[in-house]
Structure formats: structure tokens, C-alpha cells
Symmetry: C2
Subunit: 385 residues, 2 copies
């Protein structure tokens, strides 16, 4: 397999981008990545997107984006894996370069979610759950994650305050990220007293509805070296896994089995373990999700996500900084873009370009991106080569 | 790059499968492919599907299908490239095995189109065209292909009868295919006198709305040899390309540029040319599409698709048999499944298992699968190793 590097990243300000179309948003991020990499060609491209059909009435995003970006006739492929679309698209790009089929590949993620009414967005997002057995019976994602939170509290003694502290930390981090959708700092009390969505989760436990895109350029490490840009950020590990689509089919609904499997593969491939990681970006679509994710990644013991968050272990400057970008909670969650934006954040951290939210001496970072309640997940490990 | 073979194929009877769900249809084909290959594990899987969100209210098909097939926690990825979703999914699976990331990979394609009303299906399909510049102005695919047909007739003198002869030939072939949706033979007069859809195309120039799935198992040629099954069907070439999403942006609307580019790459990779191909499966979503496709593939000269069809060159037993399976026209067109079913047909032909529609001494076959009006396309060359 060819050794692969991330040589360019493109991120835009996320939010309610009423004045921009789906194409505008994607192309803006893609052009930034191309500019950052300094490449004069792309051999192939990927578009991670969950549901442009339901959100924007437009499928066939490979062709649409290659056209609007002005790079036809290169191969252009759209990947869908619900909220893990971006992470899975990154893995597909990685495998294309690793196989030797292509050299310079663009991987972008995009979602334009605010152009439908509130009910339309909830309906579209719920198509990532089990339509026949979950959604048909009236549950959507806030309800599913609320059940996971209640189970985690019952099984491990996780407290309401600990859940809230995930949101507080991520808003602290996001306040230092100029591209984040919600940059205000919040408090535990504010989270607990916000509008209830699905008990125990209030609206401040939930990631928002967001328009946004992110993009990266990858190529063989050998070519990256010739480009002369330092440091070289190498893709050291890649893992992907699946799980039952419905939560109720799992033995333990607090356990993200697919994340554990994908992480194990990524760690093995990189030849490292959880203690070798300097920072992580995880999929905190709800506060409880971050706790489950860091447990499944082996960064904390099972059931210890809450206390670890409470005592500052996951803050920037803590033992293992989690979501220095602000995470989905503060940065926003344009579902198809999220996994790619995680790669952008880790790459910038490894390059030492993260300004006030820089994790000191970051040499190796991990991303965890999941679809639905983790019926799909992609884990990647990047390191300074 | 690892040399890759197709070692199992699974095809089911296509049609209006009211009694089966999206999952049932996919899993039925997948189990047939697994059984045909005789494998006892799968390392990774792909699901080609265009718009399960709009057709069935279910996205996240990687997770859904891995779960229902009982193969979690393997990586499971959904690929969307409109009507080329199947062909592009096959290419992704091919690259995964070629890269060395996985050994035994399942690639399936599926679409369940009849569960929405007629208008719903037309809306869903039209999301493969340019929403902002084509569909917004009232044109859907029959209209776009009708314009391409009129332009081809004006530029090359292609006749109405020649268009009809594509449908007649494909129904002849499909009458010999037990899995085809419409097995009746038709005549040129019947095509010309059928209900008009978009002048000059009648309903018998159009591929139908279909429920269906198809699946294949691929693995390194080295492993295929150990399995001992003969002949080994090797993936000799793979090409993918994109074009403008809107037809009106092209210099010549009769010319499928993306198909020509993808074919060139596939031919180069395989080290062969058009005259070395024994049979092809092309994307005849409308009769005119088959003529444009065989021209772009270099099987006939530009503008000569009509006469070649008229004089029998593309029939089984002709110079270059086109769509021995019956093509999209007779076999049906469950959009996400079509590209994978083309691989199934060519593999069975190379194995000599096609019964009454067998192309004699077939040693090398080509598939061409396209999305929309060819804003995306995948071309593959399979050969007896």
C-alpha cells in the first residue's frame, strides 16, 4: 500500500448560510483546500453528504460538484453513511491513493440543512435510523440518545452535570474557533435549564442544524515530500465498522461497538494505542455521545467518561484533549461535512496552526465520526511523519 | 496493485416487488452472490443506491444492509452516483481489494422504486439532473434524452426506426433472461405506435420503473485461484469520469464525453481496445442512450450507432453483441442496481453460463453504467484470466 498524507485543508465559517447554495458551500471549502495544498490538478474527488435528496432535492453530487468546481472529467463519487458520510468519504479517498489508482485526491463533505423547515430536517435526519422499527414507532435521534444517556446514568452513575460539562467544554473550545457556528460560552446551569428536548437532554446537549462544508487534499507521502511543505501529516491508521441499525438490538445501548472495532483496526494499522494519542475529535452529536465515544476509543475506562470530563482530563491542556475544535456541539454539525472537518482540525493541530485552541506538542491525533447511533463509524489516526 | 477477480454473482427476478422491502431485495441478491462464491466471510461491503431517501425514507444503507445481512461489524459503505451508483460502487470495491485493505468484498446495488407514486418516482429520478437549471425549468429525463435523440437524428441522420430497433433487440435478448422484468418481444411498429412520452421517444423507448438488486463478490485473483473455480474472471480495467451535470452546457449533446474518457482509462488499464471486446452491457435507459454509448465506447464510429443496430451488428451473434441481458429496457432499471447487474451478466457470459442468450466464445466483456445524462460514468472490462 502507498503511504498517504494530508497536504491541504479547507474550512469555511459554518452556520445558517441562507445566501449560499449547496454547490457554493462545497466549492468554497474545496477551493480553500486546493489553495492550501498548492496543487495544480486533482485526479479524483469524493463528496461526503448524507441526504442532499431530502435536504435540497439534488442527488448525483459527484457530477454536480465536479462540474461546479470546474474539474470534469475526473472521477467524482458521493459517499453516504448518514452523519459518518465525511469520515467514510475520507477513507475511500485514502484507499484510492493507497491502491495506486490516483495520486492527488480531493475529499470534501457538505450538507445544507437549513433550506427545509424544522420538521423536514428532523425527518431527513431520522432516515439515518431504522425507518421500519425505530422511526415508524415515533422515535428520532434526540429520543434515542436520551435513552442511551439514561442507561449510562443508571449503569455507571454518570451525572446530569457531567453531561452538561461536555457541552460547556466544547463551547469553551469553540469560542476560540472562528469557523464555529455557536461561539458563546455556556455554563452547566445554562445547559440544565435550557429547553428540554428529550429528557435528560436539553437543547444545549444537542448539536445544531448547520449549513457547511470542509475539504482536504490527500496524496502519496512521497509526493508530499517533494512539495516541500512541513510537517508532513501522514494517515497512519484507518478503521471503519458497522453495527445494528436499531439501538434496541444491541446488548448494551451505552456501548458503541462499531467505534471500538474501527478504533482497534486504526490503532493496529498505526501500530499505536490510546495512550499514544495527543488529541481527538469525536462525534458529539449529543453530549452523551462524546462520553460513549471516548470510552469506546479506550481513552478512558468504560463508564468513566463523565468523571474524566468533570475533572478536566478532556479539556485543552488536559490529559487527552477532546474536540478542541468545539466539536459538533459548538462548531456545528452539517452532517455530511463533519467527518471531513475533524480531519481538517487534527491536521491543523499537527501543523501547529490552531492558534488559541492549539494542543501543545500535538504529534498524533485521532478522529471518530459516526452515523446515526453508530450503525456506521470511521476512525482515523493522523501523525507527523 | 493487487489483481482482482469476480468470484460470485447474485441476481434476482426484477419487477414490481410489492411484497418485498428494500432490505429483502438487497439481502436476497447478496446471499445469492455469497452462495455462488462459496465464501465463509466478507471483509467489507458496498451498497450502490441512488435515492433510498426519496424512494423509501431510509438513508444509511451501509449500516442497514450490513445489519440485515447479519455481517456487522464489517465496514459497509453506500455509494451514490445516480443511475451509475452500482458501477461506481463496484469500482470502489475493486480499489479496496486492489489497495490491499480488504480481501473479500461484497458489492451490491439496490433500488426499490415502486413504493412511491408515479410523480414521486419522476421527482426522485430528476434529482440526478441539474435541479437549479434543468429540473426547475420543467425538464426531466425523458425530455432530456428526447432532445439528445432529436439532435442525433439531425446531425447523423439516425432514423426513428433505428431507435426502435434498439428496443426490439433488447426485448429479444431479455425474452431469454428469466430475471428480466419485461420478457415480451416487441416490434418496430409497436415501439413507434406506443404512448408518446417525449417526442420522438414513446414508452417503449424508455426503461421501466423497477424494484431490484444485484450483487457480486470480489477478491484477489490469488485467492480466487485457491478457491479452484474455473474460469477466473479478472477485473482487467476500470475507468470513471464526470461531465457537466446539465446537458445544455455541453458542446455536443449527442456525445457522452464522460463515457469516452472512462472507457479510454479502462482500455489503457486492460491493455486492449474496442476491437478486443466480445460483448458489452451498456446503459440503455432510453433507446438513444445505447446508440450514444456504443459510439463513445468506440465500438462503432460516431453517428453510426443507428445503422449498426439496424444491420444486426449489436445483436447476439453479431459483430459486437450489446446488452445480451436485455439491457435496462427489458431487464428493468432499478437505478442503483443496474451497474452491478451489468457485472453479473458479463461474468456469467465469460463463464459460459448464459444459456439461450450466451455470446459464443466470450472471453472479454465491458460494462458501461452512467448517471443522469452521463454526468458520471463507470466503465469496467472483465476478462477470463
Amino acid at each position: 500500500m502507498v503511504d498517504v498524507a494530508v497536504v491541504g485543508v479547507g474550512m469555511i465559517k459554518w452556520g445558517e448560510l441562507w445566501e449560499k447554495s449547496l454547490r457554493d458551500v462545497f466549492v468554497e471549502a474545496a477551493l480553500k483546500a486546493i489553495d492550501d495544498a498548492g496543487v495544480d490538478r486533482i485526479d479524483s474527488m469524493y463528496v461526503g453528504c448524507m441526504s442532499s435528496g431530502l435536504f435540497a432535492g439534488q442527488e448525483h453530487l459527484g457530477g454536480v460538484m465536479a462540474d461546479y468546481l470546474g474539474v470534469t472529467p475526473i472521477p467524482a463519487t458521493r459517499i453516504e453513511s448518514a452523519c459518518a458520510s465525511g469520515g467514510v468519504a475520507f477513507r475511500q479517498g485514502f484507499m484510492e491513493v493507497a491502491s495506486g489508482m490516483s495520486e492527488i485526491v480531493l475529499v470534501g463533505g457538505v450538507e445544507k440543512m437549513t433550506d427545509v423547515s424544522g420538521g423536514g430536517a428532523t425527518y431527513a435526519l431520522a432516515t439515518a435510523a431504522d425507518q421500519e422499527y425505530e422511526v415508524y414507532n415515533g422515535v428520532t435521534f434526540p429520543g434515542l440518545y436520551a435513552m442511551m444517556a439514561r442507561a449510562h446514568m443508571a449503569k455507571y452513575g454518570t451525572t446530569r452535570d457531567q453531561l452538561a460539562q461536555v457541552a460547556v467544554k466544547n463551547h469553551d473550545n469553540g469560542s476560540k474557533n472562528p469557523n464555529a457556528q455557536y461561539r458563546m460560552k455556556i455554563t452547566v446551569d445554562k445547559v440544565k435549564n435550557a429547553v428540554m428536548i428529550a429528557d435528560p437532554l436539553t437543547i444545549l446537549d444537542c448539536s445544531p442544524i448547520t449549513d457547511g462544508a470542509a475539504a482536504v487534499i490527500i496524496c502519496p507521502v512521497e509526493i508530499a515530500r517533494k512539495m516541500g511543505k512541513q510537517p508532513i501529516v501522514r494517515i497512519a491508521g484507518s478503521g471503519q465498522a458497522s453495527d445494528t441499525i436499531a439501538v434496541h438490538q444491541r446488548k448494551d445501548i451505552t456501548y458503541l461497538g462499531a467505534t471500538e472495532v474501527a478504533a482497534k483496526k486504526a490503532y493496529e494499522m498505526a501500530g499505536v494505542g490510546p495512550t499514544d494519542i495527543d488529541l481527538v475529535e469525536v462525534h458529539d452529536c449529543f453530549t452523551i455521545a462524546e462520553l460513549c465515544a471516548i470510552e469506546a476509543l479506550g481513552l478512558v475506562e468504560k463508564g468513566k467518561g463523565g468523571p474524566a470530563t468533570e475533572n478536566g482530563e478532556t479539556a485543552i491542556g488536559g490529559r487527552i484533549p477532546v474536540n478542541p475544535s468545539g466539536g459538533l456541539k459548538s462548531k456545528g454539525h452539517p452532517v455530511g461535512a463533519t467527518g471531513v472537518a475533524q480531519i481538517v482540525e487534527v491536521t491543523e493541530q499537527l501543523r501547529g496552526e490552531s492558534g488559541p485552541r492549539q494542543v501543545k506538542d500535538a504529534k498524533r491525533g485521532l478522529t471518530q465520526n459516526m452515523g446515526g447511533t453508530c450503525a456506521s463509524t470511521a476512525v482515523h489516526i493522523l501523525e507527523v511523519a
